[in-house]
Amino acid sequence: MEADDLLQLLSSRQARRLRVIENLLRGRRTVSTLFWGQRYRLLYLLDLGKALTRGGLDGPAQALVDRQLATWEAEEQPQLRLTPAGVAAQHAAQPFVPQTAVLWPQLDINAARKRLLLGVQVVSEYQHQTKRYYPLATDLATRQLVRRWFYQSDRQQLGTALQATLTRSLARLPERVATVTVAGFTGYQQPGLTNQQLAVRWQTTAWQVYLMHIEAVVTIAQAAQVATDPLSGLLGPLWTVPVTKSAQATLAAVQAGGTLDQIARQRRIKPSTVREHLLEAAIMLPEAAFPYERLLPATTQRTLLALLPAAIDDWTYTDLAPAVQAKIDFFTFRLLAIWQDKRGDSHGKSNG
């Protein structure tokens, strides 16, 4: 990720922790990372930079500061805030803004992309009756799945059907996204262009190209949710609930009526783990899918809201009086913040 890409993830109205952005990209799903990811409206970054090393954003961040587009804010963790020049640069760059981002955490994007690319290549070579070709280097599981999908499909129709569904999906996207996506495909007499090469051709960055690819993959996978879509067998199963299995089980137990301590005993997990599971579920699921009212009695809400500042980002648990902390635990405090955010707290929309 280059400095110009990081620029797009920052804001002038909200100081953002560099480590949170890094951890989102690297797929480190701690509750704290997820919570701030939600606050920054950056949850779509989850897992998108698996190869990023720890500290991998430090260089780009410092470059932005050196160019006076952002400043460091001293906190317990380094936070970045855009300067007015940074805001101007952000808008001038005319970045690609994904429209399907809210869906990204619900799809195993890396697997979907690998399957789609190999699937397209296999069908392309088959259509041109190439017996011997180099398949895209990928893992065994993907190879086996694509092979099975290919042999279970009606191969006579597959080329036409695949072309039709891809055309329909890509036509819904901006022309540039469709063009970049198809140019990145590998197939008959087309090795495909790398993100870097596409970036040069389109005068953008490799990261932006990558985001366009994902936008396309998600759009194509959306169409594959229909059973008759030729890609349904390949991509359909990759849609998931964006919450770990274990957290889902905890949530189900809460919805069935248990108290948190009962559930901890029942599920043989620590009470703190129960709370982490619930916070994770609250962040990652739509408001309606989580029993906020049950876990946050109206009186608790009123008490807390009366004591806390208006802007959620300014809420600090340790600023509460010890007597309040004794009555209201961190879990309740954080859950209220998540709920306030989901209910459309005016301070929540701080992107840009």
């Binding site: 070709y133 895209l136 280097a137 990928t138 893992d139 036409t160 695949l162 198809v182 087309q190 090795p191």
Partner: protein, 482 residues
Amino acid sequence: MESLTASLERVFGYTTFRAGQQAALTALEDQKDTLAVLPTGAGKTLIYQLYGYRHPGCVLVVSPLLALMNDQVDRMRVAGFRQVAAVTSLTSFTERQEILAQLDQYRFLFLSPEMLAQPAVLSRIQQISLSLLVVDEAHCIVQWGPDFRPEYLLLGAIRERLGRPLALLLTATADHTTRIEIAKQMRVTPTVVAEPIDRPNVFLDVETVANETEKRERLLGLVSQLQTPGVVYFSSKQQATDTASWLQEQTGLAVAAYHAGLSSEDRFKIQQQFMQDDLAVICATSAFGMGIDKNDIRFVIHYHLPADLGSYVQEMGRAGRDGQTSVAILLYAPGDERLPQALNETNRPDDVTIRRFYATPQHFSLEEPGIRLLTFYRDHGISEPAVHALFERRERERRAALDRMVAYVREPTCLRQNWLTAFDQTAPDHQAKTCCAPGGQDLDITALGLRRTPAEAVTAPNSDWQTQLAGLLTAAPAVPEG
């Protein structure tokens, strides 16, 4: 059993062997351990492919480069060998388990030395019948073993634990000392099959420049004039990347970088683009090459000084495999030997670290390659003084190898003779026009017939995405005959 030639024709459709292949196969058929020193492009893989085809059991190939192994597996699949797998540290746990569980189904198995040294893997392999143990790029045993791939040093012992299967050691580059060292490490007394390594169609050139700026200028000049495709080698990923985009801007040629830092998808795409001539020039690190089968590479330029002549020969040997005139150019600025020197030193833990490590090994992180190396030695019962001695010896060897490389650069008369003598071979008489241009002598690209004719402008495909997608997924209608 059918003759080797009959097998060759049946499996590969060729009627004659390339130099060295038959001699190596004949030795193996006689159950003799074999060290085959064959030039790059001689078709070394065919030797074990054909042997594996002719004999029951599994051919186990120990190979150094993770990326290369997957390439090899793909290439074998493309060539029609289906029961092939590779297990490396890049292989996922599930995939590894699956392959190990069904090991007896594979006829060819590629492993990294690190993987083979794992007790669980080794004990699985002990249960299957091996027809042949191949060590590919066997010079790595000597070149890399002591410094950062210590598992290479276990191969001799591992072979014994596997019941001493027939061994085939393959390399493109091994002088007399290296051959002896390989045999010693592998605990074999091999039949040596060596072919002349000279590449008469590759013109050798060393150019001395004053400094980095001049070197860049010269590189640009060369790339602008020379016939493509070509490869420029660098010692650093970053410089390969930066120079690739700079050259593309400056020359208008299609240039891309290739190094181990790219994703496997990108490496695949760049390789295939180069293979089908979508790319004119690749700016690469040493990660590029082993396993690249492109015959018409017209130039190989080295921007940085390689650490030893063997590596240089290996890389420049990718030029002109089709037998057509090609050129290998080494650009040298005074002081260039400092970079390989520094790279050597960073690989190796210093005396203080060694002492402290042996005193309190638990205080060190295995993440660092130097510590990993020390842990390996310590775990294998090698004492602190012995490790000191070993590193010192390696240091001397590396310095000697680098001096050898510098001697090539400074050679005043005939580069070919300098090179071939170092590999115990006799050089043909020097012919200035076709042999070489040592430092200080001008390279005449036109006389070599390697000057690029004004290029037809490369036009990017202009078709819209719909047409491009249709081209991928719809077969072109058959052209009616007559």
